[in-house]
Amino acid sequence: MTKVGSRPGPAVGTIVARNFLPFARVLACSLREHHPELPMFVALADGPGDDRDPAQRAEHDERGEPFELVPLESLDIPDLRQVCFGYTRQQLAVSMKPHLLSYLLGRGHTGALFLDADIMVLDRLDPLIDAVASHAIALTPHLLGQLDGEARITRELNILQSGIYNGGFIGVSASAEAARFLAWFADRLHTHCRHRVADGMHFDQRWLDLVPAYFEDVALVRDRGCNVAHWNLPERNLRWVDGRAMVGSQPCRFFHFSGFEPASPGMVTRYAKRLSMAALGPAATLFARYVHLLEEQGVGDDPPYAYDTFDNGLPIPAIVRQIYLDLGPDVRRFGDPFCTTCDRSFFNWLKQPTRAAAPGADGGLVSRLWDAVHRSRADLRHSYPDPHGADREAYLAWTVSSGLTEHDIPQVLAR
């Protein structure tokens, strides 16, 4: 029997690569201000690195990070090396959400709340904490009511493309139903945390559309102060009242700076270029404050990402990750995908020709890499219908003149 009352209360977690640590610090500090009782965990979707190196800001050396760091290896992720190779930095971080939530529940917390790193807590999070205390799973919808105005259909279709519920918040309780949800979510994100809207995927988010159908006891938190962001800002009507951010008559509980890039502080989000900071109204103050806090926490240092390169230092092009992912479970035969020197490495496989050399063929053959590039692009299939035969010369010329730069492919993988 579990003794009631002996378990630690809910915990909050986020996931970042090292370059996003300043965001996690701002989130953790803002959480501490409004919920000093909630422990904060940050999973590092990056290599171990040396977190005590001099680049670490001095004040953190003194008082430590405002959160407990969870290394990637602490999360129970199968085929970790393969996942780190197949996914981009962003995909890797997103795909770890179910693992982090399971990890926090595994430490005995009664509930676990995931918050995206680009969120700032502005007030008490009681509706979320209550939802997790009384339900197995809690989600926040992007929109809480039908939209009006000219852009209503475009904006709602945008949400249908990206998912009804925003993945910036996911809450779970220590329950069998939440465990079922997390096991399913982890399985799907293991291979299908991808941005392919026409196939039904938008990273982790479209999968969440299935949650109210699949699981019992799902709370859709329709509190207007939660998850205020560019997609619902026109309806939330954010105002400042005595220095407090308000949405209607209630506090703005947390703001989600989704797609905001501190290096371009005039742009609200990279996802909706039509929004300009100048036309944003009272919310612009919040962005200005956010930039200031991020700068204080060292944003812009841009430390390298551990899984950006092969073991010989060559950068891994995005299309190479895609090819690897598309191969499915078959990739196990390559062993460690980062390795360039091992027998039967993925790196060498990419360079191999897809067809045996025809006698007298000159000018080279199309490698597996360039064959996969060809298959992935309708325009190339249209322009070079027969890349291994009649169009081979022309296609190979294209790979050198345009292909390398369009796909950021290193010279070593030319042809």
Partner: protein, 410 residues
């Protein structure tokens, strides 16, 4: 005829074009068998045109004209037969609520009611909207991800079954759904649309009183058959040991009964187990309802009023014109001087002496296809002859363009 409605008044309804009238009959009969006191309505998204006698049907017939659909001639023109039925759904439901029914259940045409809907109507006592998901639990097996992605492409909830109550929230929901499907009832998965269905994924977020009915006895269909244990014992069909209430036959073609649905290659009458008997029962019910006769009945809105078939691209062009399309009046009408029909064959580019023009219709075809834009970069100028040759050789066939819109060779 309908019995005396009980308090609170309930009803059920479906929508068909008349070539599917046998489906409406079979569904109505199956519903009335389990609910003799509940009226069943059929919206005809078509015209009767003397093909049948509404008074002799086992349901109450409604016409599109009854539903207060704004700008009906345009609405009817914008969609081909099936999408028009889909887009009419929220208008039908709102009409039935206005008529005084307080609990309304919508069913898609290719269905059989096999048990009582009492638990569904009971839900509508406290909820505004009842939705049934395609799937009720995570899938297992090698094709689990493919199958779930299929659902994500088409919508979490299946709109073959929907319940609404006469509450302010349901009224708001229906007004919203009407507005969205009036222009955006398309099959464009990459843009977030799957006819009327994907819109409903938003309902639990946008409206109060939305209930997700997770009962395996409702809405059994090809998409969830592997997970539902079907047993047939004489008349009785059970799902996971409980009486089946609604069975769906989406994509089933009675003329090709071995293949249970066009939507799945893996499911056949040979491997479906006892469920195959339910499909067989459906086929018998359709035949009894006159399937072989009604399937030949023509769709009234398939042609302009001069009998020329309306190509899909013409529907899309008119839809794209928005309010500017109003000046043509009824777009099917060809007898007025400034008709949409005539306009499609004209061009803003003006007529040159050098042969046939590229009409607005063919300009729209060009604008809709990237391959044509690459192959014929300047369709009104230097590539005109080449593009026109393509329209004659391939275009008329690929887009099913009637001869009246073909470029005239001179």
């Amino acid at each position: 005829m309908s019995g005396v409605p009980l308090d609170p008044p309930r009803c059920a309804a479906t929508i068909v074009a008349k070539s599917f009238l046998a489906y409406a009959r079979a569904l109505a009969v199956s519903f009335r068998h389990h609910h003799p006191d509940v009226p069943f309505y059929v919206l005809l998204a078509d015209e009767v045109d003397g093909f049948f006698t509404p008074e002799r049907e086992p349901f109450e017939l409604l016409a599109l004209d009854d539903l207060q659909i704004p700008r009906l001639e345009r609405f009817r023109f914008h969609y081909s037969q099936q999408p028009l039925s889909y887009a009419s759904t929220p208008f039908l439901l709102a009409h039935l609520l206005r008529r005084g029914f307080s609990r309304v259940v919508f069913l898609k045409q290719e269905s059989l009611v096999l048990g009582s809907f009492a638990s569904l109507y009971a839900r509508l006592a406290s909820e505004s909207l009842v939705l049934t998901p395609h799937l009720l639990a995570p899938l297992e097996g090698a094709d689990r991800i493919t199958r779930e992605l299929n659902i994500l492409q088409s919508g979490t909830f299946n709109i073959g079954l929907l319940g609404v109550a006469d509450t302010p929230s349901a009224q708001r929901f229906l007004a919203w759904w009407q507005d969205r499907v009036f222009t955006h009832c398309q099959h464009a998965v990459g843009e977030g649309m799957h006819y009327e269905q994907r819109w409903i994924d938003l309902a639990p977020a946008l409206f109060d009183g939305v209930h997700v009915l997770r009962d395996p006895a409702y809405n059994v269909g090809h998409w969830n058959l592997p997970e539902r244990q079907i047993k047939v014992d004489g008349e009785q069909v059970t799902v996971d040991g409980e009486p089946c209430r609604l069975f769906r036959f989406s994509g089933y073609n009675p003329d090709e009964p071995g293949r249970l649905t066009v939507h799945s290659r893996r499911l056949t009458a040979g491997n479906a187990g006892p469920a195959a008997q339910v499909f067989e029962r459906f086929r018998n019910a359709l035949e009894l309802a006159g399937y072989h006769e009604t399937k030949h009945w023509p769709y009234a809105y398939a042609t302009f009023d001069n009998g020329v078939p309306i190509p899909d691209i013409a529907r899309q062009i008119h839809l794209g014109l928005g309010a500017a399309g109003q000046r043509f009046g009824d777009p099917r009408c060809t007898t007025v001087s400034d008709s949409f029909f005539t306009w499609l064959n004209g061009s803003d580019a003006g007529r040159s002496d050098e042969g046939p023009i590229v009409s607005r219709l063919w300009q729209a075809v060009h604008a809709s296809r990237r391959d044509l834009q690459e192959a014929f970069r300047d369709p009104l100028g230097s590539d005109r002859a080449g593009f026109l040759a393509w329209t004659m050789e391939s275009g008329v066939r690929e887009h099913r363009i009637p001869a009246q819109f073909a470029a005239q060779s001179q």
